[in-house]
Symmetry: C2
Subunit: 208 residues, 2 copies
Amino acid sequence: MSAITVLLVDDHLVVRSGLKALLGTQPDFDVVAEAASGEEALELVDLHAPAVVVMDLAMGAGIDGIEAIRQLRQRNSRQPILVFTTYDSDADIVRAVDAGAMGYLLKDAAPDEIFAALRGAVQGKSVMSAPVASRLFQQLRNPDEVLTPREAELLSLLTQGLSNRELGQRLFISEATVKTHLAHIYAKLGVETRAAAIATAIRREGMR
Amino acid sequence: MSAITVLLVDDHLVVRSGLKALLGTQPDFDVVAEAASGEEALELVDLHAPAVVVMDLAMGAGIDGIEAIRQLRQRNSRQPILVFTTYDSDADIVRAVDAGAMGYLLKDAAPDEIFAALRGAVQGKSVMSAPVASRLFQQLRNPDEVLTPREAELLSLLTQGLSNRELGQRLFISEATVKTHLAHIYAKLGVETRAAAIATAIRREGMR
DNA sequence: AGCAGCATCAGCCAAAAGGTTGAGAGACCA
DNA sequence: TGGTCTCTCAACCTTTTGGCTGATGCTGCT
């Protein structure tokens, strides 16, 4: 049988070469290309048509991993995409799955877990690290705590330190509306002040 | 001549094996041991007495990189320690240098930069990535922007989302004093609201 | 002794944020 | 069609925060 062709996408050379070394210990994997950015990933997928793509979410410059996944999905490319990243923030997980990721692995995963995830992915199976799965479960159990798109947008700007007035101007809505959204966000995050909301968002939701 | 013996410390297996693969391309490096935690690092230094230690700061469990550096320094071990991490937050840099790190490399560094840093370190030279160096320089140039111990303490609590009243209670000072400290902190951070201060602190000062 | 930096506190005022209630428009779905 | 969700806005009121000025005691350095 032929080997599973893999495209690695990570802006850190050490991670790419580490992953390559790990996959090299298995006879059925063949790393056919490496990309250091989202843009490069799009090119190399077209060029090599790998059986599976392993992608980090945090990319230094240019489009990030989420956007790269989205654009790959919009082309008619069929290869499964596995997210391979350091953090298991709620927001990242949801966005990645939403964008069309096939699985979500953390970088401290054991080699066997990585191998199994890759082999599973090419067969159409979804695989994710245990901490990631438990976070998703919790979100499904408590849908009341999931922010609406608009709320998430506002929260993202909030973590930049903007005032209500600035938020309104930026989003083209009145300050009254901003306050309404904020009240809902506070309730969902379980906080009472914008300070706590920012702290929670940056730490728990991974908005950096 | 004999090879430079290296100990790798990083909780991510992929990073260790990537670094090992990179160093393997050079004839003068020999990775004699790998540690996945601070505790393990301390043991393996005793056991192998490597010529240089390459250490990540963020370690999943147990003592973190900074503490590991400090403890290594307190023993009579002489090997230079190179920090090899993802983020260049002001706080991390200062703390690492303070703990006795010999250099500070970012994970997106080019292979040649890594090789040069390792070779330099064993000869007693300090090496750091350009962004890291520029941050240190800026701190030296603008001592006015350095927070006093009390201000740092307050800022740390601020990033937990506490109100002025709560800050006062926690630090056993009046709300008036809290406001005075905050005003100074805002000036030093170059912000005007607590929201922006929190955002800046968590992102730039690395208070997570 | 004098000066600078730090930490502490007070009072006053304006601005911002938060709590509450109520309400209308559009989307979506049963 | 009716119900639910989301997004939008308003008015009112209380609390919190921020800007300003000024002041005290302590420490360390010169």
